[in-house]
């Protein structure tokens, strides 16, 4: 369980994180979303005990990160932004160091080392200094470091940044695999990632929570949620368009360059049955028909750009 109460961080006059209160329980994968400079990293730095909050408290598995930092930090695996490591070390030496600090010993230490090395495919670079590794490998060394002690809490700041699509997929499935018995917090600005791994998303901007929902719940906020896109073969597009527009619950109809059109609903109403009936009645030649679930990035833009004029706040 992670709990924060009125977590606040001020840098001089700049309010980076403003009264953030939330809690995350075991089994949840929480995605932190927000524009650059929204306070995502600052929040994660406070949760991991790197930054001292100006006000408020954060508790990790019951340990106050300020009052019992070492106990709290034992429970956490943390991947800082940019995955910093000690560049002159080899991954072997580095992971060995982390395993020692994490109090892993003997056979258990060897087992965990072998496991993370094979899980993150680090075998080919084990004896090269980390400085000479590609961005993808560096990131994976950082991830290996974070999960080596099988922590109850994982805090990952942009875990897939700089990875190629295959590696991204790998890391996401790794996160999903570990999700069941852990608390995982990831920050990202890749929205498809939220869809792929998170079961809860918090959107923050200017240090405040603007939305806290499931990814599906966020998508439902989109004007395109439940919209129906269809393409008709030989039917007169203009005529079909006006017929569709007169259906109850329809706000407007967009026509696309390729001849397709999208019927937008009012308040996310279900349109598919009505559209289907209409097509049947009129005998349209429907070549394509699909219900949209809504675009996360659209919702993201809508939510974060509504929050304007906050720069002056101190």
């Amino acid at each position: 369980m992670i709990e924060t109460e009125r977590l606040t961080k001020r840098y001089g006059n700049l309010l980076a994180v403003d009264n953030l209160s939330f809690s995350v329980s075991q089994g949840q994968v929480l995605g932190f979303l927000g524009p650059n400079g929204a306070g995502k990293s600052t929040t994660m730095k406070m949760l991991s005990g790197f930054l001292t909050p100006t006000e408020g408290v954060a508790r990790i598995c019951g340990f106050d990160i300020e009052k019992e930092p070492v106990k709290a930090k034992r429970e956490i695996g943390y991947l800082p932004e940019g995955a910093p490591t000690y560049g002159e070390m080899t991954p072997t030496a580095f992971l060995d160091f982390i395993a020692d600090i994490r109090d892993l010993r003997g056979a258990q230490k060897r087992r965990r080392l072998d496991e993370v090395i094979s899980r993150l495919h680090l075998e080919p670079v084990l004896l090269q200094s980390i400085d000479t590794l590609s961005k993808g490998y560096k990131r994976r060394v950082g991830l290996a470091q974070a999960i080596i002690h099988d922590p109850r809490v994982l805090i990952l700041d942009e875990p897939t940044d700089g990875l190629d699509p295959n590696q991204k997929h790998e890391v996401r499935s790794l996160i999903s695999e570990m999700a069941a018995d852990k608390i995982i917090i990831i920050s990202t600005h890749i929205l498809e990632e939220v869809h792929a791994v998170c079961d809860r998303a918090i959107i923050i901007a200017h240090g405040r929570i603007l939305a806290d929902e499931t990814p599906a719940g966020l998508e439902a906020r989109s004007p395109r949620h439940n919209a129906v896109t269809l393409r008709l073969g030989d039917t007169e597009a203009a005529e079909a368009g006006s017929a569709l527009e007169s259906l109850p619950g329809v706000v407007s109809v967009e026509t696309h360059a390729d001849g397709g059109m999208t019927v937008l609903p009012a308040d996310g109403a279900e349109l598919l049955p009505a559209v289907g009936r209409l097509a049947l009645e009129r005998g349209w030649d429907v070549q394509e028909l699909q219900v949209e679930s809504g675009q996360l990035d659209e919702v993201f833009r809508q939510i974060t750009s509504a929050d304007v004029g906050q720069e002056a706040r101190t």
Binding site: F50, L51, Y78, P80, E81, P84, Y86, M89
Partner: protein, 244 residues
């Protein structure tokens, strides 16, 4: 203790993972030798002791020790690894002490490698080896004091050049605090006890006691206190400014 040991081993290995260690040791040995034989007139004096050797240590350390200490924390800040270190389950005190001990051990290795000069002086005559041992201890303690100052300064910045220069200046002040160069700054306006206290802080006077062969407890305690003070300050600086 275990955590200090783990950090100590990692840090010490880091010196030898890069050319830093070898460059430093070679330069230290070459300069120590050159000073002893050319500026110190080791042969011409015709005395079997290591005074000319140890006499230059404060000046060697003034420039070489800050070169070791400057990277201790500034590099961690620069690369961001400080965020990793400070979120591992170690206390700031453990990290500070582990890093300091690694740097100090590294200095001890460099100092230990000057042993040929001890062999030379024993070959040429009958020196008082007790005096030489005391001087080595004094030299190492002084290096530790320089390092502790450097470690604290290094924690205040992410720029190694700034850390180096500030450390040199502060160490220079401590070296010469018993001399007019520093004392004149205080004479005239500061109370006499204060000027006297400043004069007592001089590394030079305490080191020269030890290098004359007097293993004076006061000098040992003095260097111990200096190291303790600056390492405490180091931990406080880290606590105040974890991020940059």
């Amino acid at each position: 203790m275990r955590n200090i040991g783990i950090i100590f081993r990692r840090e010490l290995a880091a010196y030898f993972a890069t050319p830093v260690a070898y460059v430093f040791i070679v330069i230290f040995l070459v300069l120590a030798g050159a000073f002893t034989f050319y500026l110190g007139n080791f042969y011409e004096r015709g005395q079997a002791d290591l005074d000319p050797f140890f006499g230059f240590h404060p000046w060697l350390y003034l420039f070489l020790v800050p070169a070791i200490s400057m990277r201790l924390w500034a590099e961690e800040r620069k690369s961001g690894s400080i965020e990793l270190l400070m979120t591992l389950p170690v206390t700031q005190g453990q990290a500070v002490v582990g890093k300091f001990l690694a740097a100090w051990t590294f200095c001890a290795i460099a100092l230990g490698l000057t042993f040929p000069i001890w062999i030379t002086v024993n070959y040429l005559g009958q020196p008082d080896n007790g005096v030489i041992l005391a001087a080595y201890v004094g030299s190492l303690l002084m290096a530790g004091a320089f390092l502790a100052i450097g470690a604290c300064i290094s924690a205040t910045t992410r720029n190694q050049v700034i850390a180096f220069i500030l450390t040199v200046v502060i160490c220079f002040g401590f070296l010469l605090s018993g001399f007019p160069l520093v004392l004149d700054l205080f004479q005239g306006w500061a109370p006499l006890w204060f000027t006297d206290a400043i004069a007592q802080l001089s590394f030079m006077t305490h080191f020269s006691t030890l290098s004359r062969g007097v293993l004076d407890l006061r000098a040992v305690v003095y260097f111990g206190l200096v190291i303790g003070f600056w390492l405490t300050a180091n931990a406080i600086v880290l606590d105040l400014r974890k991020a940059d």
